[in-house]
Amino acid sequence: MRIAIIDTSTTRAAIIAEGLREAGLDDQVLIDPAGPIVRQIEACAPEVVLINLENPGRDLLEDFFAMSRALDRPIAMFVDQSDAESALAAVDAGVSAYVVDGLAKQRIKPVLDVAIRRFQAFSRLQAELAEAKTALADRQIVDRAKAILMRRRGIDEPAAYALLRGHAMQSNRRIAEVAEAIMTSEALMGDLP
């Protein structure tokens, strides 16, 4: 069963492709999102097309599928009424699937399941990455604010941290926010006696 993957994120496309391979679905084609989508799909004649929900090429692709009704391999959106649940899961995860008419449902389900799981994993990964970046940035700011406090007040590191933390709790702000305020004031008034 040939599966075409179209994704504006090439990283995510690779992650899906890997997941499908692990599930034993080896016959896959990665479509270049920068190239002509329809021509590439036409050339590889897939039985299943996976595309990210927000892909700007979807209206074009659906038009192509509707026109190909006349061909011997009509493709339709995979939203069999009886599959409302997996369709909902797919849309929630951000993926749409189109399949060649007549392809058995039990053959499609594993493909969709893998795609959904991989899309979700990718979203989680992105969220974690964003969190890690924030955490790293926060730590750098806090470290610098601590250094300023230690120098200006002549205190040690645990005391500087306790001061920051106490003030954050008191003013109901994040420690990083307080640290940032200290750095701002240092930048503007640090040279004053």
Binding site: E54, R58, D59, L60, E62, R69, V91
Partner: protein, 398 residues
């Protein structure tokens, strides 16, 4: 007071204005409705979010709501359209080369004359036009005009799909020779110097139905009271939108990055019916280029849905089905519009269907509330559409 929440899907276009203004200017809140907007660049994504509950309602090209209810290319889902978000507001823009080949002047052309020039060019070279969706008024209006001037769509010229925000790019890249798209994307193509506006779709059908507020039919039943209040909010937003005093404010709101993310100037021109036809030219005033409020413009006439269904049959090569025609016309829900605006003073048409394209000048029409005057609603070829005789109408078309 807790608000009834509506997540409303939209594509960045000037005629997404009413739900955006209802949210930004407090019309929704006045009705106890909270509006949250969900932006997408394809109609497929707008439709999917609506069908799977990511959104409660959507700004949608009218034929797509009908195609969804008819189960075209996918399983059918009953749909409801209780409110029309606007008439027309689209244009046909030619590439600079095609504009030159057709000898377009400084203003908007005459549909018959431009059509005759285009026919000659199309006989020499294979032309390709981009429309925003297969099930869009743009597709049907363009085809109606081409067929009416003796150019056979799909036979003499190709028609392909291109998403609105990318239409100007497709023109610039030479992928298409012309586009039929909503504003501000025609104006942006002109301002970028890659095209020139040939016609406004209002020249093809003076009162052509365009975007609608679409929702799943079960939502319209389950949340009827909240839906009626949403309609009142949108109607108030429409009255505000057409007030000349507010156009600058509306253009500024629409231009914001999370809405249209487009230049204020191009949006303002569309709102004020002033269209810059050629790069660097003075904007041309074309009255009723966009039509958002007067003449009960927001009323979902079943006959408008009937016309769209007739075009769907015409171009998809399927045969007419009276059951499908009834389903299509049943998507438009004038009774919800009337229930929402009863007692508001807004003119409420007495009929739910009318002969489309039969009015030459302003004429009083039957109303159950307020005074309703309808202006000319002519098609460029002078044909009229009788929703009770779609087969007869289709037989007579070129």
């Amino acid at each position: 007071m807790s608000l009834d929440r509506f997540r409303i899907g939209f594509v960045p276009l000037v005629d997404a204005a009413l739900p955006i203004l209802a949210r930004e200017l407090g019309f929704a809140e006045e009705q106890g409705v909270g509006v949250e907007l969900v932006r997408d660049v394809t109609w497929a994504a707008v439709r999917d979010r609506l069908l799977y509950g990511h959104s409660d309602a959507a700004h949608m090209v009218a034929p797509l709501a009908i195609a969804t209810a008819l189960g075209r290319d996918r399983p059918a889902v009953p749909m409801a359209v209780p409110f029309v978000l606007g008439l027309n507001g689209n244009a046909i823009t030619f590439s600079t080369a095609l504009g030159g080949a057709c000898g377009l002047g400084e203003g908007l052309g005459d549909p018959v004359a431009v059509g005759a020039a285009l026919r000659e060019v199309a006989a020499r070279q294979r032309l390709r036009f981009g429309v925003v969706h297969r099930h869009s008024s743009h597709n049907y209006m363009l085809r109606y005009w081409l067929a009416g001037v003796g150019i056979r769509p799909d036979v003499d010229v190709d028609i392909v799909v291109t998403s609105p925000p990318f239409a100007a790019d497709a023109l610039a890249a030479g992928e298409v020779d012309g586009i039929c798209v909503g504003e501000p994307w025609n104006s942006i193509a002109v301002d970028r110097g890659v095209g020139r506006i040939a016609l406004a779709t209002a020249q093809i059908w003076r009162r052509g139905v365009e975007k609608v507020l679409a929702m799943r039919a079960d939502q319209a039943e389950e949340r009827r009271d909240a839906v009626l209040r949403l309609i009142r909010a949108l109607h108030a937003a429409a009255a505000h939108f057409v007030d000349p005093e507010t156009v600058e404010q509306s253009a500024e709101i629409l231009s914001r990055p999370h809405y249209l993310d487009a230049p204020v100037d191009a949006i303002l021109r569309a709102i004020t019916d002033r269209i810059r036809v050629v790069p660097g030219g003075e904007p041309v005033h074309y009255p009723d280029f966009m039509f958002q409020y007067r003449e009960a413009a927001n009323f979902p006439w079943r006959s408008q849905a009937g016309w769209l269904y007739a075009q769907m049959v015409r171009w998809e090569g399927r045969s007419f089905s009276s059951a499908d025609a009834a389903t299509a016309q049943g998507v438009f829900r004038p009774e919800l519009y009337r229930a929402a605006l009863a007692g508001s003073g807004a003119p409420l048409p007495g009929a739910s269907s009318k002969l489309e394209g039969a009015l030459v000048g302003p004429i009083g029409a039957g109303s159950t509330q307020g005074r309703l005057v309808l202006g000319s609603d002519r098609f460029f070829d002078g044909r009229a559409f009788d929703p009770d005789d779609i087969p007869g109408y289709l037989r007579d078309l070129p």
